[in-house]
């Protein structure tokens, strides 16, 4: 079973969805079925985590079969230290998002949970795909369920948000498709081996000329839209705000990470020279995203929109860390990806359950609810602090490593970026103060505290946010060797360029 664990992880949710589609007629049964399936999927991830050989920088649990042999397309999957945490994050957040939707999703439940499971399969697949064709298919296939989740179960402006999300992402990724095809022919003409094998294509140098620059830009645009980096971030506030809670959790927790994962997996190894050339450009965009995201978050009146803009800011740290091209920067970036998934996912869940009770997300409608819902206020405070980057919590370690790494690479940028941490404290604490303290808004008298189910699904996230903050080695140990290999590859090219 361990040999095929990745295939099982990709196809189990699809089969489960198909099974639910065929045999489950009621919404409630489908809901429980989907939850059990997502828990099984999460449990299946555990042997992957424990059997992973941390001293091996290469791909593990590799599976390779011919798929479309006339085109050199294979079914080729594997995980390394960079992707394994993302797989874990995906299965964890999907299970939590499904449990978190039990009362939130009231209409057309069957379709919702089936869409969630199909989405999960595609997301896991994106992180483990080692064949460009497979990767691209899964990357795009995610769009359809996510589009439906936003469009059917979303808020008032859901149609606009769903279409915007879809078209933005698609517009970015079609150029990626051309880049993939161009790489296929280029790699084939250089080596005589026409293949979509990502590792084979990565191991070949493309000379750093116009070809490499264009390929880099095509990939970069596609990933930058997904991250999202400034100035292509405008789909994010709409999509996050209008999506149902589960949709927001998955969007912020997993989908955004695909952009930064793509930068790590494709842009750096395949187009290293262009990446190095564009390093200042990416760093500047990242810093703009950090500051701009934070400033815009500060003036938001909608809690969910505030968290959405904070994502732009936090993801700026990730891209900054990755483009520092050193061990601490990239490790910090990956850890920040993981932490941001946990913390922002949790914040969206918390906002969602508040919205379920009061049907408003406006900061001005709240005030003084800390006394009314003490458990909720406490948990919300934990994740607020996590988002700010308080030491002993995950957010701190990630941002700290990123800042250390980027200070070595471009100290000016790091200094400006560090101010983003302060801004984060301003907008998060100010929001917390206006919602939970100050004078009590009497319109909220039937506000009830969190119930057992809600505490249960938030609990794993609380544990993880402290775990990554206090003993990050559990998580960083997975990535040391893979990141080291990547950094050495980039640095050797950098040395050769000088």
């Amino acid at each position: 079973m361990m040999a095929n664990i990745l295939t099982i992880l990709i196809f189990f949710p699809v089969l489960a969805a198909f099974f639910l589609f065929l045999f489950f007629r009621s919404g409630k049964a489908t809901m429980w079925g989907a939850f059990i399936a997502s828990i099984i999927e999460l449990v299946l991830t555990m042997p992957l985590m424990t059997n992973f050989d941390k001293s091996n920088p290469g791909m593990q649990f590799v599976e390779k079969y011919d798929w479309i042999s006339s085109f050199g397309i294979q079914y080729y999957v594997g995980v390394d230290g960079i992707s394994i945490l993302m797989v874990f994050l995906t299965t964890l957040l999907t299970a939590i998002a499904i449990l978190g939707s039990f009362t939130y999703i009231q209409k057309r439940q069957r379709e919702f949970y089936i869409a969630m499971l199909i989405l999960e399969a595609a997301m896991v697949g994106v992180f483990v795909a080692l064949d460009f064709f497979l990767f691209y298919i899964l990357w795009e296939a995610m769009l359809i369920p996510m589009y439906l989740i936003i469009g059917v179960w979303g808020g008032a402006r859901r149609i606009y948000a769903a279409v915007k999300f879809f078209l933005y992402t698609l517009a970015g990724s079609v150029f990626m498709m051309l880049a993939i095809i161009a790489l296929y022919f280029k790699h084939g003409s250089i080596t005589g081996n026409y293949t979509f094998d990502i590792l084979a294509i990565s191991s070949q140098s493309y000379g750093g000329g116009l070809f490499e620059t264009l390929v880099f830009l095509a990939f970069f645009v596609g990933f930058a839209i997904k991250v999202p980096m400034f100035p292509v971030h405008t789909w994010l506030p709409d999509a996050h705000v209008e999506a149902p809670t589960a949709g927001s959790v998955i969007l912020a927790g997993v989908l955004l990470k695909m952009g930064t994962y793509g930068l790590l997996r494709f842009c750096l190894p395949i187009t290293p020279i262009a990446s190095i050339n564009f390093m200042p450009f990416v760093a500047i965009l990242s810093v703009i995203a950090i500051i701009y995201g934070a400033l815009v978050a500060m003036v938001q009146e909608d809690i969910k929109k505030l968290v959405a803009y904070s994502s732009v800011s936090h993801m700026g740290f990730v891209t900054l860390g990755i483009y520092a091209f050193n061990q601490s920067g990239i490790e910090g970036g990956i850890l920040q990806m993981f932490n941001h998934g946990i913390i922002t996912g949790a914040l969206f869940l918390l906002i969602g359950l508040l919205y379920e009770r009061t049907h408003t997300r406006m900061i001005a409608d709240y005030g003084g609810i800390a006394s009314k819902v003490p458990v909720y206020a406490t948990i919300f405070l934990i994740f607020t602090m996590g988002s700010i980057g308080l030491p002993s919590m995950g957010g701190f370690i990630g941002e700290f490593l990123v800042l250390v790494g980027s200070f070595k690479a471009f100290s000016n940028m790091a200094i400006i970026a560090a101010s983003g941490v302060i801004f984060a404290a301003v907008y998060m604490l100010w929001m917390y103060q206006r919602v939970f303290f100050q004078s009590y808004n009497t319109g909220l008298h039937n506000l009830t505290d969190m119930n057992v189910r809600e505490v249960i699904y938030i609990m794993p996230l609380i544990i993880l946010v402290f775990w990554t903050g206090i003993y990050p080695e559990t998580f960083t140990s997975y990535m040391h060797e893979s990141v080291k290999q990547l950094v050495e590859q980039i640095q050797s090219i950098k040395v050769a360029m000088n």
């Binding site: 479309i68 006339s70 769009l143 359809i144 439906l148 498709m177 051309l178 095809i181």
Partner: protein, 475 residues
């Protein structure tokens, strides 16, 4: 002589079966006319099986007038798919509209014989005969709904403009013949190779011929007939017309330009690359503005012709294989969409095919809506659906020939196109019903839709089978 007979054996078989079809039509009762269609399906399947190609075979017949090879066979598969799905999708439509006539299936069937001659032709006279056989059948089909004014209009319009374009094609053909002294592709190529294409007469002749072809594939600016004819014709016929005659025209055009015009490839590549850009862009931009789904799909059909032209401009073996594969895939997804559209009935005030009729349909008809969603996303080229595989091949062909700019225009267009395909899904899934609309899926159209959905999903995930079919193709 023996070989000549073998080279048209599939057509002979089709014709004999076609004559039998007429007899069956005469013998069957008025309310049992659908049986003619089922027999037609059986006959086409029999011919398809009987003429299965063995390896990369090529049978030249009648002193190089036509050839039966794996290339012609691949296009025959497209025609067969189009016929089978259209027939199944028509049965209920014809009954509902009171035009359940046996000749519907027979004429549809005979048009395919014309198409088969078109794609096997290696001689201008055979090409023209095949083209006219197909075209006359299609004029009748477009106006088949006699009681409907718009169908009549479509028939007349198609006939007049079609006859006009055939005339232009024929006129160009005479110039080519006059200049080269032969109607055979190989001789024309030889003449062009030695004498070049600088002579005004041959230029004029070729431009008129290519314009005639451009009419048939509805390439902008020769597309004027398409939107009205496509939206006026009976819905299943429109589905057929956007696939089979277009595939035939592409099949004939590819053979003509790759064999006869091989020495002038720089010139026709330029000609068609301009047409490709215009066709994609115009088709997509105008489709966005449509509120009638049938008309929207008509414009989308124009834009798809533009994508396929990219494969032609690429002028490599991957390119025409991509076009054949694209046609197969397009046949499944587009005829599938038209089948559902044909069954959509709106008891309200507005036209059946209006976008508003789709509002909220996913609640009332979850399965039919899911099928429509799959067709729409497949047409938009979203993986893991078949439409993506087709586009992927087309763009690969372009990049292989170094036509990156054309591929970029293509992908930008397919991103734009997403919007109007999505509008159908927006209405079906995100909006509440405004009118009392329903999709009445009877057994025959359900089977057609089911087959189409299965193949759209299957080709999307396991395209190898159909890729192997087109892989054997050699012009």
């Amino acid at each position: 002589m023996g070989q000549s007979i073998v080279s048209i054996l599939p057509e002979i078989l089709m014709t004999i079966f076609g004559l039998m079809l007429i007899v069956i039509d005469v013998m069957s009762k008025d309310e049992k006319k659908s049986g003619v269609g089922y027999f037609g399906i059986a006959f086409i399947l029999l011919t398809l099986l009987a003429s299965v190609p063995v390896g990369g075979f090529k049978i030249v017949g009648f002193d190089q007038m036509l050839v039966w090879d794996s290339y012609a066979y691949a296009f025959f598969i497209v025609f067969a798919i189009a016929y089978i799905l259209t027939t199944l999708g028509s049965v209920d439509y014809l009954k509902a509209n009171g035009i359940n006539k046996g000749e519907y299936y027979t004429i549809l069937y005979f048009s395919i014989i014309g198409m088969m001659f078109m794609v096997s032709a290696t001689d201008l006279s055979v090409l023209y005969l095949g083209l006219e056989t197909m075209a006359i059948a299609m004029y009748i089909m477009a106006g088949f709904n006699k009681k409907d004014k718009r169908s009549n209009e479509a028939g007349i319009k198609y006939f007049i403009i079609g006859a006009f374009s055939s005339g232009i094609l024929l006129y160009g053909l005479t110039y080519v013949y006059g200049y080269t002294g032969s109607t055979k592709y190989s001789v024309i190529a030889e003449m062009l190779r030695t004498n070049g294409v600088e002579n005004l007469n041959i230029k004029l002749g070729l431009v008129m011929m290519l314009a005639g072809f451009a009419f048939k594939i509805s390439a902008v600016p020769f597309h004027m007939w398409a939107p009205d004819v496509y939206s006026g014709a009976p819905t299943p016929v429109t589905g057929f017309m956007t696939v089979a005659p277009k595939a035939a025209a592409f099949g004939a055009l590819i053979r003509f330009v790759m064999v006869a015009l091989e020495p002038a490839s720089v010139q026709w590549q330029l000609f068609f690359s301009i047409l490709a850009v215009l066709t994609m862009t115009y088709g997509n931009l105008v489709a966005i503005a449509q509120n009638n789904v049938k008309r929207m799909l008509a414009y989308s059909a124009i834009s798809h012709a533009g994508y396929m032209l990219i494969g032609l401009v690429a002028a490599n073996d991957l390119g025409y294989k991509a076009i054949a594969l694209y046609m197969i895939i397009y046949g499944f997804m587009n005829i599938g969409a038209f089948t559902i559209l044909g069954q959509l009935k709106n008891k309200g005030i507005i036209d059946d095919e209006r976008l508003e009729s789709f509002a909220g349909l996913s609640k009332k008809h979850p399965l039919a809506s899911l099928a429509m969603l799959i067709f729409m996303f497949s047409l938009a080229g979203i993986p893991p659906l078949a439409g993506f595989v087709g586009k992927f091949y087309i763009f690969s062909a372009a990049i292989k020939s170094g036509l990156v700019w054309l591929a970029i225009v293509g992908v930008v267009n397919s991103a734009i196109a997403c919007y109007y395909y999505m509008r159908v899904t927006i209405y079906m899934y995100f909006k509440e019903a405004e009118y009392d609309a329903s999709i009445e899926m009877k057994p025959a159209s359900s089977i057609a839709t089911f087959i189409a959905v299965v193949f759209v999903l299957l080709i999307g995930v396991f395209p190898s089978f159909f890729i192997n079919i087109v892989k054997m193709m050699i012009v």
